[in-house]
Symmetry: C2
Subunit: 466 residues, 2 copies
Amino acid sequence: MTEPQPIPSPLGTLSRREIPDLVRSQLEALLKQGDLQGAKAILIPVQPVDIAEAIEGMPEAMQAIAFRLLSKQEATEVYEHLDTSVQQVLLEDFKRQDVLDIIGNMSPDDRARLLDELPSKVVRRLRAQLSPTEWQSTALLMGYESGTAGRIMTPEYISVRENMSVSQTLERIRTLSPVAEIIYYLYVMDSERRLTGIVSLRDLVISSPEEQISEIMTRDVVFVHTDTDGEEVSRLIQRYDFLAIPVVDREQRLVGVITIDDAIDIMEQETTEDIYALGGLQSDGDNYFEMSLWTVARRRVVWLFVLLLTNTVTGSIINSQKDLLQQVVVLTAFIPLLTGTGGNVGAQSSTVVIRGMNTDEIRLLGPLKVIWREGIAGALLGTILGTLATIWAYFLLQVELWVAVCVGISLIAISILASVSGSALPFLFRAIKLDPALMSAPFITTAVDVLGVLIYFNIARLFLGL
Amino acid sequence: MTEPQPIPSPLGTLSRREIPDLVRSQLEALLKQGDLQGAKAILIPVQPVDIAEAIEGMPEAMQAIAFRLLSKQEATEVYEHLDTSVQQVLLEDFKRQDVLDIIGNMSPDDRARLLDELPSKVVRRLRAQLSPTEWQSTALLMGYESGTAGRIMTPEYISVRENMSVSQTLERIRTLSPVAEIIYYLYVMDSERRLTGIVSLRDLVISSPEEQISEIMTRDVVFVHTDTDGEEVSRLIQRYDFLAIPVVDREQRLVGVITIDDAIDIMEQETTEDIYALGGLQSDGDNYFEMSLWTVARRRVVWLFVLLLTNTVTGSIINSQKDLLQQVVVLTAFIPLLTGTGGNVGAQSSTVVIRGMNTDEIRLLGPLKVIWREGIAGALLGTILGTLATIWAYFLLQVELWVAVCVGISLIAISILASVSGSALPFLFRAIKLDPALMSAPFITTAVDVLGVLIYFNIARLFLGL
């Protein structure tokens, strides 16, 4: 038996035997320094079989990190070369807290640059081994950001091949049903694990036993990718009345499914976020009633502070009109009425528009037509309310007629202003990629309050000839 | 052949032959007068077979009305006595506009008193014949009020018997699947059409063909009644992760099913109503963007009018403090800040509580603890904001120190008041059976605005020694 000869290799003239050892020691050194970028770089020219051997010799905490630094193509091959027991240990390592900490501490950008997709085979095995909670905590290591399909998917599906018969498939279902909860859809994969079709249990049951899956499957499959946003996923499920939707990776390999009950939970959470945003609260899906009071106060104070700031602007404007108010002190009595009504009209318009955006009702009309409609509605409402306010001021508060008329005219102007800004701001915020629900309310309040008192005082000055 | 002899009957000594004719003419007269109560009364002592014959001789528009006036028990028997072709015509009659108008014009109370449940057999046949739109328009005639399970259910289910084998059942599915879209659950009924169990398609597929349905069915069925509220239905489906839920009548006879996609639509609509209510809008599930502007204005003006009224109260209070304001006109500058912040703090508390109520999070804590928590949060927020406002007023607006302190103290008091009333009012409204989402906002605004300015002016008077 001859010793293997030194051969030319990117790592110099080492004997094949020495390569895994050298790679291992270099990797360990770089990982200890925390230089993940460097570690990734030195792995590129190395053969999968050598990387596999190098990884087998590393301490456990490092194995998982080193494996995650491989490109998807490489990871697939390296994984195949690992001993079955080491494959298992590696999957276990993904749960280790020190491993999670290293990836968790990186910025999302770094993470996205560093971590390629995991091979679908590894994802499937990993997802099946982890509890939902463990999956949540290892999801960053997988490269799945919060709220994406990769985070939400479950591995409990049954896959079949095109050339299986209906009766073979039914047999497979009987065998696998204890481990796969959701069997109303079966997913058809080719030899590369690529999703090629879908068969519902219904189709299966009403077909004759000899038919082939390829004859009864639907080839026009609606699927999502691991990085598809959860809200988009639940919208698709709802739109098509699906019971589940498959999740695939970049090469259209099936890695999991998302079921309708999870989609409903996502919808509920998104709704809570929208409602909280409209009510001026931050939310990230935690259970509000389990938070500490300090967290509660922190979540709310930012928003209140913004509103306090806008109120100080209004206050400063009023303060600058002291001469006018000293002269006609009764003008003060109408400030809450004007700003309050303006705020309410604006809130109505923005509520309608924000809810309409989320339920796709608005696309049929287009922003300009919506804003125009709201403006007219504001004018109508302003006229009705302005008339009532004038009557109330003149007859019940018995102010001078010009003051009463001034209040009425201001109310019409403020209502139009409020309904136009209330309907326009959500579109504007969406256009600049801010959450319409979160951002509209304080800006509407600002615009309406500040401009509202300005309009009021200027109309009053006109009447007074000041 | 002997003529039937006159026999004693509640209708006097008529020959059996004459009874249907007499009943028919009496009924026609009463129905023409619109006396449905009277018509119902005269039917009570008559034998089902005679009623059937009487109905067969009536003009079409009256047949359906007369049939609907029967008690459920009687209706079942009368229906059995009708000729198949007449059964069919009767079902057609339920679609007639003049028939629908008669029932539609009655008050809900009268309707509920007059109309007993329809026999499940008739419901099933009727539901299967009518399109969803036709079902909606005839639903009042059925006695199903808007938003109840009876309105939403579909008749597309497959029923099986306990003593059928798995293979027989699969055969039945193959036969019926073109007409029954939803076959993931099969419903087990006894000879009386009573729901006794449920079998999922999954259970069926993984069982051996010889097993009996009674061996594999789940007997612990979760069902709803025709008058169960749609929101409750969708909550049940969501809670148990069902794909569908059966709808039964009073005798637990299966009349339809509600599927998860319909439940999702209900949830979406309820959410829109909640969001609209929080934004101060009325909603009844119409598409807002298809309404005329007059309808839009009408929907909003009621709410705005209520808020205008509360603002006039605030205005009157300010007006009554003219002496104070004349003396220290700068006090005016802080009114929008105080009422605005109070409104925002109150909105946050009520949003959290209202959303929590709908998602059942709050039951774990109980109202008192929730209100207490909110009160403390309000005190915390008020202290932070009050301090900021005092600093701003003193250093930037350069008002006198006592004015700045007065603003700060008022802000703390108003925040506590706002968070307590914002969290307490939804519970109060729920207790008196008003929609918390719809009713809370204007009351919080009133309470906070009115009490807020009162607190502010009184604290100011204290400082001034007035």
